[in-house]
């Protein structure tokens, strides 16, 4: 008797997603939250921020208030020109608001400083320094002794997995590596808050996904308060605890969305994708409406069926 034919294709139950490879990265002591509290510091409060440029007609921001709880990941989304970068620069102290205050852990913060470290879209690394020297720069300015600096730079490089590139000049690094150096440069200062101004906007899709994962990992490890600005809804949903949608002209808060998915998120798992889709749709409608108001016309891409409807009649009129 013949053995039953072995099925060429067996449909087995889908395997549970493989656990992400554990990378043995120990959080350096200086970056750990204060003992006893999971959320030590980093309560950033922006209250009643207004700012206008070039006279009173163009108001970039009107009465915007945001409270970031310690350790919270807040993402601000909005169409271009809605003042989200201005908002972040106000938080960083680069721009003085016309009215309103910025408080960090109960203390008024004015002027830029390393307690609110910023990651710029164009990285803003110094091209005359190597990767390690860039990371070291802030510590040097703060007067940290050399012996301690070396260890902390080493730790920071390990956090962003860039130890082999430590002596490379900035222009020798890829775009993603530059942003990782930029993040390390901010983290090494052990800031209370991390401000990120569209940090991944200039990267290709693959690198961006990778950096999303790495940023999430970093955030889970260090529990920094992060205020993140982006125009990408997908990015916001992937990363955020809470999404704030900004309205343009004048810039003010349109809507807040709580994303109650657990961290760390597996960006590929289907049930999470389902939730992402829902939230995404909700926000995209919002952004579209804001866009439409800006352009004063409601423009939406036609469906492919509509676009293709006439194709069969091509040449009919000849």
């Amino acid at each position: 008797m013949r053995a039953p034919a072995t099925p060429i294709l067996t449909k087995s139950a889908p395997e549970p997603p493989a656990p992400r490879a554990e990378r043995p990265v120990a959080i350096p002591t200086w970056a750990r939250p204060a003992p006893g509290t999971t959320t030590g510091r980093g309560q950033l409060v922006l209250s009643g921020i207004s700012k206008s440029f070039g006279g009173t007609s163009a108001r970039a921001l009107r009465d915007v208030s945001i409270t970031c709880a310690p350790g919270e990941f807040v993402v601000v989304v909005g169409p271009s020109g809605c003042g989200k970068s201005t908002l972040l620069n106000v938080a960083a102290g680069m721009i003085t608001p016309d009215s309103g205050t910025v408080t960090l852990d109960g203390q008024t913060a004015d002027g830029p400083g390393p307690d609110r470290a910023m990651v710029f879209q164009d990285h803003g690394l110094f091209p005359w320094l190597t990767a390690a020297q860039n990371i070291e720069f802030g510590l040097k300015m703060a007067g940290v002794p050399r012996s301690e600096r070396e260890g902390r730079v080493e730790d920071a490089l390990r956090l962003v997995h860039l130890v082999p590139k430590r002596d490379k000049l900035i222009h020798e690094l890829s775009g993603g590596m530059k942003q990782r150096v930029s993040i390390a440069r901010a983290l090494v200062m052990n800031p209370a808050v991390l401000l990120m101004d569209e940090p991944f906007a200039a990267l290709d899709a693959q690198t961006r996904t990778l950096l999303h994962e790495q940023l999430q990992e970093l955030w889970c490890q260090t529990h920094k308060t992060i205020l993140f600005v982006t125009h990408s809804v997908g990015e916001a949903v992937r990363l955020a605890d809470r999404i704030i949608v900004l309205h343009a002209h004048p810039g003010r808060i349109r809507r807040e969305v709580q994303v109650s998915l657990p961290h760390p998120r597996n960006f590929d798992s289907s049930d999470i994708n389902q939730l992402v889709k829902l939230v995404r749709k909700e926000i995209e409608d919002e952004v579209n409406r804001v866009n439409a108001e800006m352009a004063e016309t409601y423009w939406k891409p036609q469906s492919p069926a509509d676009l293709g409807a006439d194709s069969g009649l091509m040449g009919d009129g000849i």
Binding site: P112, P114, M118, G124, P127, W128, K140, M189
Partner: protein, 277 residues
């Protein structure tokens, strides 16, 4: 090379006069003579080296047969001119750099001095000579004055334009990392302006060299005979070969300094910044 060869041939065949226009060989003779090597490539029917000494024994005995290489007119002239250049250029860089920095930092200074400096650049540096003669007399101060006036405005303008190209992101990043006050200038703005500085030094040097040569030509300071002095002496003795030879030396020195010093500095800086291609 071909031009030089045909020039030399034409010279020998037609028989031009040395005092009308020199052949390349005469220039070579003159050049070597200035560094203490006596040759006669320019004379027809002669092997060229060594040149026979004049028959007049007394004249021979009167002047030293062999000058040490560092005592020859050309080497001396180059070193005198070099010292003047270094001193004048240093002052010029300090002055021009300071003013350029102020022009970049304060709009009022820029509005006040910018157009004036642009105007000064159109003024050939030799035009400062009469003023210098009247103010300082014929001496070292006068030469330095002409050199400085001829180059510092160019340094200021190039530096200011270069500083304006510093991306505003660098000072912002510096402030964010806690670099305030002088630290921001020293650790962020100064290194960020290195490409501008290198460019401004290069431009400034060529201006300074030209001014110095012009000034030396007219300020005949007896004690320290620079390259310009040699050139002028050639003119006064109608020694055309000498004139051409000194001019060649001037061009070569200017070129070497630009190519081997300033261009290399500039390239290094640009490589470091990843600006080169």
């Amino acid at each position: 090379m071909l031009i030089l060869a045909s020039w030399e041939t034409a010279y020998r065949v037609i028989g031009w006069k040395l005092w009308v226009f020199p052949a390349p060989s005469h220039v070579v003779d003159s050049l070597l003579e200035m560094v203490g090597v006596h040759t006669a490539f320019g004379e027809p029917l002669h092997t060229g080296w060594p040149r026979p000494l004049p028959e007049d024994r007394a004249a021979n005995a009167a002047r030293p047969q062999v000058e040490p290489w560092y005592g020859t007119p050309l080497v001396k002239a180059i070193s005198y001119s070099g010292v003047r250049l270094v001193a004048g250029f240093a002052i010029s860089v300090a002055l021009g750099g300071t003013i350029g920095l102020l022009m970049w930092r304060f709009d009022a200074v820029d509005k006040m001095l910018g157009p004036l400096f642009l105007g000064l650049q159109t003024l050939p540096s030799v035009c400062w000579v009469p003023l210098a003669v009247l103010c300082f007399g014929i001496n070292e101060k006068g030469i330095l004055f002409v050199l400085i006036m001829g180059s510092f405005s160019a340094i200021s303008l190039v530096l200011r334009d270069g500083l304006r190209t510093i991306p505003p992101l660098y000072p912002r990043a510096g402030l964010m990392l806690g670099a305030r006050g002088w630290k921001l200038y020293w650790y962020v703005l100064l290194p960020a302006s290195l490409p501008a500085l290198a460019g401004s030094l290069r431009t400034g040097f060529s201006f300074a060299w030209r001014s110095l040569m012009g000034a030396e030509l007219i300020f005949m300071v007896e004690k320290w005979r620079g390259l310009g002095y040699l050139l002028q002496m050639g003119r006064e003795f109608s020694d055309i070969a000498r004139v051409v030879a000194v001019m060649i030396v001037m061009v070569v020195i200017g070129m070497l300094a630009d190519r081997w010093v300033f261009a290399i500095v500039q390239r290094r800086v640009q490589e470091r910044f990843g600006l080169g291609t």
